[in-house]
């Protein structure tokens, strides 16, 4: 089976129709549109200065970490509405033990990941065993986790927040993994040759690339590889596309879904770890509505709500749009009250566009 055979017998598909069949096309087009829009309206405001770029990338990165995992789960045909509460839950697990009982921070981070994995496993098993829609099961988890977090936190600390973690985390070896900055030297160099602006005191405007951005890109690449180049990826698509057919062909649909619930929960724990170690505090209300923001990013990214179709790259662009718009509105000086209106409308338009593109792709080939 040589390459010649492939050339000879596989008709070349026109580039445009090949592009149109990619799920992330809409999100890429949307990203360009959003960039052009803010380049015109906020071009001089500093949104596209080094500092502004890092600002919106950081917002995108945190949401994107969540969105990539949520996109895999959605492709497998399930939702997880509990990720928002899971962030608050994981946050207090990380913050309280070091502050109250002197645990090392790495131990409480590990505990948070383990606890979230357990909750994710519980969600997955409930959905798979009972056959209830994941919407209902994880809606239950959403409220249960929030209530549990609130009750336990107030019971232990007497308040709903835990602050002052920096004191403990700054010397812990685990902190640079989640809250550090990378590429300080190249940034300094870029600043020296004048590509990155300097602050008044002569230091570069940004000191490095936040690790969260690396996590985001790394996770997206990993998920893309998982989806397109592994057996498990094939099972994810099949589990969401036609679970019965998948089962008949011997695909372990239930196991695939449970793994993805656990993976989503771990992404929520990663989100919380980054947030708590960067800010040095935890709040029981953290992560509120993140489940919806993640779904918006994933859907803007071209993932089909009913499962079976989508990509992690799309979710990455969805999160990027989210970050750019959120920071862009701030930089242009438009009242940020309008942000949610804009995001909601963007999602609806994205879904309309995506379903049109998919219809076209299915027909024209």
């Amino acid at each position: 089976m040589s390459l010649e055979l492939k050339d000879e017998r596989v008709r070349k598909v026109p580039l445009l129709s090949k592009l149109l069949s990619r799920p992330e096309l809409g999100a890429i087009a949307g990203t360009i549109l959003v960039f052009v829009f803010f380049a015109i309206t906020a071009g001089s405001s500093g949104l596209f200065s080094a500092k502004g770029v890092i600002n919106f990338l950081e917002v995108s990165a945190q949401l994107g970490i969540l969105a990539t995992a949520v996109s895999l789960l959605m492709i497998a045909g399930e939702f997880d509405l509990s990720v928002g509460s899971m962030i608050g839950f994981a946050g207090v697990i990380i913050a309280i033990p070091p502050i109250m009982w002197g645990w090392p921070v790495w131990a409480s981070v590990l505990l948070a990941f383990a606890a979230c994995a357990a909750v994710g496993y519980f969600n997955g098993v409930m959905v798979v065993r009972t056959g209830l829609p994941s919407f209902i099961v994880t809606l239950g988890s959403l409220f249960m986790l929030r209530g549990l977090t609130l009750g336990v936190t107030r019971g232990i600390t007497g308040r709903t927040q835990a602050s002052g973690l920096h004191e403990f985390s700054d010397k812990d070896w685990i902190t640079p993994l989640f809250a550090g900055q990378l590429f300080r030297a190249p940034i300094q160099w870029l600043s020296d040759i004048g590509l990155i602006e300097k602050r008044a005191d002569g230091m570069p405007a940004i000191s490095g690339i936040p690790v969260s951005i690396i996590w985001w890109i790394g996770l997206t690449l990993f998920c893309t590889w998982l989806l397109t180049r592994t057996r498990f990826g094939n099972w994810i698509f099949a589990a969401g596309g036609e679970p019965n057919a998948a089962r008949n062909m011997g695909v372990p649909v239930a196991r695939t879904k449970i793994y993805l619930f656990v993976f989503t929960a771990l992404a929520a724990a990663l989100f919380a770890t980054i947030q708590v170690l960067v800010t040095g505090s935890a709040d029981t209300l953290r992560g509120n509505q993140k489940e919806f923001e993640a779904i918006i990013a994933v859907v803007i990214g071209g993932n089909l709500l009913t499962g079976g179709y989508g990509s992690a790259i799309g979710a990455m662009f969805g999160a990027l749009i989210f970050g750019v718009v959120q920071m862009g509105i701030f930089y242009t000086g438009i009242d940020t009250d309008w942000f949610k209106l804009f995001m909601g409308a963007t999602m609806v338009i994205a879904v309309l566009f995506n379903s049109y593109v998919r219809m076209r792709a299915m027909r024209s080939r």
Binding site: T230, N234, G250
Partner: protein, 264 residues
Amino acid sequence: MEQPLVELKSVSKYFGSVIALKDVSFDVRAGEVHCLLGDNGAGKSTLIKTLAGAHVPDEGQILVGGQATRFASPKDTLDKGIATVYQDLALVPLMSVARNFFLGREPLKKFGLINQFDVEFANQTAFQQLSDMGIQLRDPEQPVGTLSGGERQCLAIARAIYFGAKVLILDEPTSALGVHQASIVLKLIVQSKARGIGVIFISHNVHHAYVVGDRFTLLKRGKSVGTYAKDDITRDQLLNLMAGGKELIDLEQEVAKLKNRKLQ
């Protein structure tokens, strides 16, 4: 006479008080198409499921290659080379042809320490296998949803053959298809036969069955009416047997009566 690939010997199957199959014998040899005909409720589904290993017969024997066998599960049956293509085809419309072709049996390639899904091999093999069957794909990565009904049926059959099926059980493969689409599938059945595969073709469409069939077994109310070689029976005789000539005549009389009543 050549030994059958798979044989049911006076098999009976009961569901509580219902007699689904009574004393039915059925077999298929290499390189023949054996059609199983019957109306709804005749016991076709029960017979297929027994052959596919989903039901264990209450009486009688299943022989594979002359050996008495008990199928532990549908998977076990598949491992013995008996593949069933059900009406839902077990295809995922949003996934590519190649990915569907290898669904659940993905080819792997070492990538460092990790086993990767071998996309190139999957694409080339699926394309090659289908084109050998006379199905020209535009692109192995096109979604199954873009294929016609007949092409989908062929994909499911080609997949079963590629994974080593010696006996193919096709459950109503042409019933939901138009004339042209059905003819694609019928051609593929003949091709499978030419490859030495034993095909069990379940249908209630005598016209389709008669074109490709070598032998015909009729089921009626859980019992076998008989097995006929193609030389021994004409299409009309088969039709009559199947529809039950008497029933048709009764029906005609009743319809006539109804018409008369309306006129009065």
